[in-house]
């Protein structure tokens, strides 16, 4: 166990100088700044906003999320009113009827009142009425989710794995991982399941979570229309964040993903180019392509021998699925390790050499016998050859 360095005066004063923070907050921010050194990721230290972070539930971007927030809003108002209705009388009572210990002996006890039927009836009926304000919108929203994909909806299969996400687009013949690409303003019907243990699929800004269950006939569904682009000229799409929210083992905390919303034509180009073979240009990429042969037992890249191997494995009886995520568009992905690291060469090499140092318990074999040159070659192949323009 490494000790926490809670009080690092030099850093604190530096921070105060650079960011001219109010002194009173200095200590708290110094605590957070000290995290930087030990950072798992390169996420730049910045003073995160207190509200409106990437996983916030309040900025509902879909109608589904706004429906939920409507119920939440109504309920919050009722809750605050009830809290006031309890706390104000409570505080008044405590203030009004307090007695000093030493005066007590001279006081006769107050009148022994045992109850009041009218009052009891009143505060039995009022909650019933208040609850209706919550119940009616609740029930309206529950029944909004369809059981079957509505006509025109794009179907996306979401499959949870320890600890990464697989996304399949049956109509487009696409299988990808950890990056969910969606066209803007399009109805999407998610079919959610798990390959191993229970996970839970959640993109907070798009609405509530749905559990991914293992087993047959236990698929869950989720339907909504994807949000419009905030900036209609956005190139490369707009990024939302998601995460697994059901304890699913050792690295549950590191099972993140990103949902990227594209303009329709950009999404179409992405879908069209997705399954094209990688473009192997440079010498290191060629070496990397050769070295990838040992990766293809677990990973597939469309348009390469690894895809044929996958087909063979799936045609066996019983079919054998590959254990690792599909890497067809790896070069275009922003992160690796299911959203835990930025997709940089340094991180890639660390991941291949020692995946467990980034994600405890990850099932990938550490390739720690590869030379630095070999590692850089594989990195070049995966990071550049598979980065197809769309």
């Amino acid at each position: 166990m490494k000790s926490l360095q809670l009080f690092r005066i030099a850093e604190l004063s530096q921070l105060l100088k650079n960011k001219s923070l109010p002194l009173s907050w200095g200590l708290l921010f110094a605590l957070q700044a000290s995290a930087q050194e030990k950072a798992f990721d390169e996420a730049e230290y910045r003073l995160s906003p207190l509200f409106g972070g990437p996983m916030n539930t309040i900025a509902g971007m879909t109608e589904w999320a706004r429906d939920i927030n409507h119920v939440y809003g109504v309920t919050t108002i009722v809750a605050v009113l009830v809290f006031l209705a309890v706390s104000i009388p409570l505080i008044i009572t405590l203030y009004k009827f307090r007695v000093k210990e030493e005066d007590l002996t001279n006081l006769r006890p107050p009148k022994q009142i045992h109850g009041n039927a009218l009052l009891e009836i009143t505060w039995t009926i009022i909650p019933f009425i208040l609850l209706l304000f919550i119940a009616v919108p609740t029930w309206q929203v529950i029944f909004k989710q369809p059981d079957e994909p509505p006509p025109g909806a794009m179907v996306v299969k979401v499959i949870g794995h320890q600890w990464w996400w697989e996304f399949q687009y049956p109509e487009l013949g696409i299988t990808t991982a950890n990056e969910l690409h969606l066209p803007a303003e399009t109805p999407v019907f998610f079919v959610i399941s798990s390959a191993d243990v229970i996970h839970s699929f959640w993109i907070p800004q798009f609405g509530g979570k749905v559990d991914a269950l293992p087993g047959t006939n236990v698929d869950n569904h989720l339907y909504y229309v994807t949000p419009a682009l905030r900036n209609s000229d956005a190139v490369g799409g707009e990024v939302y964040q998601g995460q697994c929210v059901e304890l699913c083992g050792l690295s549950h905390a590191l099972m993140r993903f990103e949902a990227i919303v594209h303009k329709q034509d950009e999404f179409d180009r992405w879908a069209k180019t997705f399954n094209t073979a990688p473009v192997v240009a440079s010498e290191p990429e060629k070496r990397g392509e050769m070295l990838f042969a040992q990766c293809q037992v677990c990973h597939t890249i469309s348009g390469t021998a690894s895809e044929d191997l996958e087909k063979q494995m799936l045609s066996m009886s019983p079919p054998v699925a590959k254990q690792g995520p599909n890497l067809t568009d790896f070069g275009n992905r922003r992160t690796l390790g299911a959203g835990t690291r930025k997709n940089t060469e340094e991180n890639f090499i660390r991941w291949v050499k020692d995946p467990q140092s980034i994600k405890p318990g990850a099932t990938m074999t550490p390739f720690d016998t590869l030379s630095d040159d070999e590692l850089r070659s594989i990195a070049a192949y995966l990071r550049f050859s598979t980065a197809k323009k769309f």
Binding site: P110, Q162, V245
Partner: protein, 601 residues
């Protein structure tokens, strides 16, 4: 043999069947487990104080998450409540002991051994890491191959057995051993909530017992109840767990409500407002508690109709709960309020529990739950209910009855310091968790990235947790200081209303020298004051020669029998080699049962 066992010293504690001593043993054990659970919480809050921290490993953190929840529920709040049931129920109903004194001792020893079995995981380094709900199939042999999960399964199984035995005991005691004149609606309210709690335990514990057996069989013998690969259903575990798990929430909170309902009248010098309505609402809460389990499963794909019905049933619980809250406030209204530490804790219970109840109503609505489920908002919610609610009330109970149990008041000064540290620290820890949840921070994550907007709230929360820890230290100091040099307490040290205050502090082993007889609710109060509030002479219970009173004989057998159960429960850890151990456990149990049966009670 039993008659000749000593009545003082260490042996007397190991063999005691006196409900008061067993109550004290429950309380001491529960408070020691509180130190475990509290330390686990502090370690977790230290890990989460900054993003990307590596103070704890992922495995240790998941283990602490599991053990903190399990310890606080099964080894702290439940046994501390059991301590109060044990100590107070016979005194409040004017009985000499519980109905089955040796069974009572058996409950304690089984509980202790179960708790030790669970925590033995620390010695082996195999911390159970499936969360306090231990969801299948993560906890199956395939995904949790070590014996870590077995510590949880068997530990909880053994502890549950203790609660089940105790529940039958108190149920029978309350129904059969009330003193003359004490009809059901003249029982102190704490006895009522105890009774309802026992009914909940008797009906819900068998469900978890069966579920635990099923999962133990899955893991030990390869049955496939919860294994989808073998045609089992993972969701079945969740149903079974929560059919127990939701009544469990009321098992934790009802005794606390009972204590608050005793403390508020005493320090307001007024009877509990709407006593009979409080009784009915306790029963209603207990009844509805069995019809709401699936609200823990709104995101598992129950379908809209099930969600609509379970959400409606859940909302209904708000009605009897709301009635209770307003009755407590009405109890205070018009009273003469004395702000002792016990009273402060009881009043804070009303406020904190209301907060937790209101966020609970939010989660009764499935759409809101879709967003809040498994986020920190839920962590905030149930800590407001179980910590701000149950635990605050239990501390109130400790301050209120400590002088009765030990003969010494707890220091009021230290008590008030502890109270304010708790109030401040508690709210600082858990109120920010609402915001963390709204900002999408999932539960049970050992780390988080620094760009999520969760940093500030986590710092606040951890600092709050340390504040409470200081409050906890003050509490333990208070106990030791007060036992050594506290103010001595008389029979009726708070000007109480119920029968235990007619006894000396601490009460004699035989409890009542003269069999009490009651004519009304709060009979002791009415003996002390006439209708106009004028004081009149009331007689406390005299002390008599103990040899003239029959008390049950001490016995070693409950401990031996409990030990046999522990040996049996240890067998699965040794796989096939465990069979002789299992047989040894059964033999010990049979010998103990035989000895027990032929021993003079």
């Amino acid at each position: 043999m039993a008659k000749n066992l000593p009545r003082t010293g260490i042996i007397s504690w190991l063999t005691t069947v006196d409900h008061k001593r067993i109550g004290i043993m429950y309380a001491v054990t529960a408070l020691i487990f509180l130190l475990f659970g509290g330390t686990e919480a502090m370690l977790m809050r230290t890990q989460l104080i900054i993003p990307n921290n590596n103070f704890l490993s992922a495995g240790t953190f998941n283990g602490l998450v599991t053990l903190h929840g399990t310890t606080m529920i099964f080894l702290f709040v439940m046994p501390l409540s059991a301590a109060f049931f044990n100590y107070l129920t016979p005194l409040m109903i004017g009985a000499a002991d519980v109905a089955f004194p040796r069974l009572n001792a058996l409950s304690y020893w089984i509980f202790l051994f179960g708790g030790l079995l669970l925590n033995f995981s620390f010695v082996t380094g195999l911390l159970p890491d499936g969360g306090w709900f231990n969801y299948a199939n993560l906890t199956g042999k395939q995904y949790s191959p070590s014996h870590a999960i077995d510590f949880w399964l068997l530990g909880v199984q053994v502890v549950g057995l203790a609660s089940l035995i105790a529940a039958v005991n108190f149920f029978v005691t309350i129904l059969n051993m009330r003193c003359k004149g004490m009809t059901l609606l003249k029982m102190p309210i704490f006895v009522w909530t105890t009774l309802v709690t026992q009914v909940l335990l008797i009906l819900s514990l068998p469900v978890i017992t069966v579920a635990l057996f099923m999962m133990t069989f899955d893991r030990t013998f390869g049955t496939g109840f919860f294994d989808p690969g073998a045609g089992g259903q993972v969701i079945m575990w969740q149903h079974l767990f929560w059919i127990f798990g939701h009544p469990e929430v009321y098992i934790l909170i009802l005794p606390a409500m009972g204590m608050v309902s005793e403390i508020l009248p005493t320090f307001s010098r007024k009877p509990l407002f709407g006593y009979s309505v409080m009784v009915y609402s306790s029963c209603a809460i207990g009844f509805l508690g069995f019809a709401v389990w699936a609200h823990h499963m709104f995101t598992t794909g129950l379908g809209p109709w099930a969600q609509a019905l379970f959400s409606a049933a859940t909302m209904l619980i708000a009605v009897p709960t709301g009635v209770k809250i307003f009755n407590w406030i009405s109890t205070l209204w018009g009273g003469q309020l004395r702000f002792t530490t016990a009273m402060l804790f009881a009043v804070s219970f009303i406020a904190m529990f209301t907060m937790g109840g209101l966020s609970g109503i939010m989660h009764s609505s499935p759409p809101i739950d879709y967003q809040h489920q498994d986020s920190y908002f839920v962590v905030a919610h149930f800590h407001y209910v179980l910590y701000g609610g149950a635990v605050m009330a239990l501390f109130g109970g400790i301050f209120y009855w400590f002088p009765k149990v030990t003969g010494y008041y707890l220091s009021e000064t230290l008590g008030k310091i502890q109270f304010w540290l708790y109030m401040f620290g508690f709210n600082m820890t858990f109120f920010p968790m609402h915001f963390m949840g709204l900002e999408g921070m999932p539960r049970r994550i050992f780390t988080y990235a620094s760009d999520q907007g969760w940093n500030f709230w986590n710092v606040l929360s951890s600092l709050g947790a340390y504040t409470t820890a200081i409050g906890g230290i003050v509490f333990f100091v208070n106990i030791f200081w007060s036992l050594k040099s506290g103010k001595k307490a008389s029979h009726d040290c708070w000007d109480g209303r119920t029968l235990e205050w007619t006894l000396s502090s601490p009460p004699p082993e035989y409890n009542f020298a003269i069999d009490p007889e009651v004519r009304s609710l709060d009979d002791w109060w009415h003996q002390k004051y006439d209708g106009e509030g004028n004081k009149r002479t009331a007689r406390v219970q005299p002390d008599v020669d103990p040899s003239t009173k029959h008390v049950p004989n001490p016995s070693f057998w409950p401990m031996v029998l409990a030990f046999g159960i522990l040996v049996l429960a240890s067998a699965p850890f040794f796989d096939a080699q465990g069979i002789p151990l299992a047989l040894a456990g059964v033999v010990i149990m049979l010998v103990a049962t035989y000895g027990w049966s032929f021993e003079e009670a």
